[in-house]
Symmetry: C2
Subunit: 268 residues, 2 copies
C-alpha cells in the first residue's frame, strides 16, 4: 500500500527524536556536539557513563571531565582510555569550588548531577563563573514524577515514590527535570531553553522495553528495595509487586512513558 499525504511526508516521521530514538543515548546526546578547538567542562562525570558519548560527539573539542570522587575519576579515565579517547582530561574537582580560572571554558556540560545536590542553584552559579561570555551550559536531568505506564499499578507508583523519597532524604531531587527552566534562569543564564525528551515504549519498540523500561528504570527503582524496606517506606511484598508490575508493562500490550529534560543557557 502507499501512504500519500498531501503535505508530502509520512505523518509517522514527524517527531524524529522522540519517535525514532532506538536508545537513550540517541535521545539525550545526539544533538550535543561542540566545535573543534572549544574548551568543554564536563562537571560531575562520575564513572564516565556520559563522557565517552560526549567525547565521540565532539571529536575536536578539548574536554576536561571532573568529579568530586577521586575513585570515580580514575574509573572514568580508564573507560575513556579503553574507548581510545585522547582528547579528554580527567581531574578530581568539587563543582562548588572549581580549580579553574574564571571564563576559562567555552561550554559546560552537566548530566544527571544536579539531581543529587542539595543546592543545584549554587552549583549552576559556580559553573557559570568558569564559562566565557557567549559560552553555554547544557544540563540533562530526569524526572521520576514523569513516569506513567499501562497497565497502571498503585504498587509500581508507590515503589517509584520510595526512590523519590529516599533521594529527597539524601538531599537530592528526583523530580528536578521539570524545574530546570527556573533553576537556570535564577542562576543568571540567559536565553534559557528547555527541551523535553520523552521516552515512549510499547511493543513496537522492543529495544527500549528491554534497554530502558527494564534495565534502566526498573533496575534503578529495584536498587532502593533494601533502603525502602529499612526505612519502612513500603512492605517488601508490595514493593516486589510494584517491580513486577513495572516489568509487566514491557509485555505485548504494555506501554511505558518517562521524560528527561535537556536545558540550554547562555552566559552573558
Amino acid at each position: 500500500m502507499t501512504r500519500a499525504y498531501v503535505h508530502g511526508y509520512d505523518p509517522r516521521e514527524n517527531c524524529r527524536l522522540q519517535d525514532q530514538a532506538k536508545t537513550l543515548v540517541d535521545l539525550l546526546h545526539s544533538d550535543t556536539g561542540y566545535p573543534a578547538g572549544s574548551r568543554v567542562l564536563e562537571a560531575g562525570c562520575g564513572v564516565g557513563a556520559q563522557t565517552v558519548t560526549l567525547a565521540r560527539n565532539s571529536p575536536g573539542a578539548h574536554i576536561i571531565s571532573v568529579d568530586i570522587s577521586e575513585q570515580s575519576v580514575a574509573q572514568a579515565e580508564q573507560s575513556a582510555r579503553a574507548a581510545g579517547l585522547s582528547h579528554v582530561r580527567f581531574q578530581q574537582a568539587d563543582i562548588f569550588n572549581l580549580p579553574f580560572d574564571p571564563q576559562s571554558f567555552d561550554h559546560v556540560f552537566v548530566c544527571f548531577v544536579l539531581e543529587h545536590l542539595k543546592e543545584p542553584g549554587v552549583a549552576l552559579r559556580a559553573l557559570k563563573k568558569v564559562v566565557r561570555p557567549g559560552g553555554t551550559v547544557t544540563v540533562i536531568e530526569g524526572d521520576h514524577g514523569s513516569a506513567y505506564f499501562y497497565p497502571d499499578s498503585a504498587a509500581a507508583r508507590a515503589a517509584i515514590r520510595c526512590q523519590v523519597d529516599l533521594q529527597a532524604r539524601a538531599g537530592g531531587n528526583a523530580l528536578i527535570g521539570r524545574s530546570l527552566y527556573p533553576l537556570l534562569v535564577t542562576a543568571g543564564f540567559q536565553d534559557v531553553r528547555v527541551s523535553p525528551r520523552m521516552v515512549y515504549v510499547d511493543a513496537g519498540r522492543p529495544e527500549l522495553a528491554d534497554g530502558f523500561t527494564k534495565k534502566t528504570f526498573t533496575a534503578m527503582i529495584e536498587g532502593v528495595r533494601e533502603s525502602a524496606i529499612a526505612h519502612s517506606l513500603m512492605a517488601p511484598e508490595l514493593f516486589d509487586q510494584g517491580i513486577q508490575d513495572l516489568v509487566r508493562t514491557t509485555e505485548a500490550d504494555g506501554t511505558f512513558c518517562y521524560t528527561f529534560f535537556k536545558a540550554f543557557g547562555t552566559v552573558v
Copy 2:
C-alpha cells in the same frame, strides 16, 4: 554570539514538533493531511472543534463528519460553513452502528472521542469495517495522568484526580492515551505506531501558558468543580486551592507538562 556546533545544526531546533509548537493545533494536527480525492470519515466530530483544522489540512479530500448528537452535528455544520469549507458533509450517526458500506472510506480520523466511550475497542472495530484494505485510522487522545508541573501541588493533583474519577464513573477513561497502542492492536489494525505529543510549558512559551495551561487544561479541571463537590470527592476549599496552584504554574518560574498520544494503524 555564534553557536556553531559540530553537527551543523542548533541543538535547540532538534525536536521541532514538541519544542516549537506554538499552539495545540500545530502539535496535534500539522502532520495529518489526506490526499486529494480520498474519502475520509471523521468519527465523533462533536461541535466541530477539530473539523475545521482537519478540513483545512486536507483541502482536496472528501470528508464526512459524523456525531451521535444531532444538535452537535448542526453546530459543527454551522462552524464549517462559517469557515467557508465546502468539502465536508455532516451527518448524524452512531459509531457503533455506522450507516456506511463496508470499506467505503480510505481513512478514518478520531480525535478526543474514545476517552468518552465505555467500549473504545468495539468502536475501533466498527470503524475498521468501513475502511478499505490499505486505508488508515488516526486516533488522538489525551492522558490526564501525564500532567505534572512545577511547583508541584498535592491539591492540584487531587483536583485532576477528581476529573479522572468522574470521567471513569461516566464510563470513560481520562487516562486512555497511554493505552492506544494495545487498543489499536487488539482491534486488529496493523503496523500500529504511536507518537506521543508532549506539551511543555514554561515562561519562555507564554502562548502555551495562557492557551494551554490556563485556558485548556485548568479550565477543563475547573469544569468538574460542582460534580466533584457533589460527589464528595474533594472539599471546595482544597479544590479551589488546586486550581489556584495550576494557575500558579504559569508564573515566571513555573512549568507544566502534558502529553497527548497520536496513534496510526493500517487496515489489511
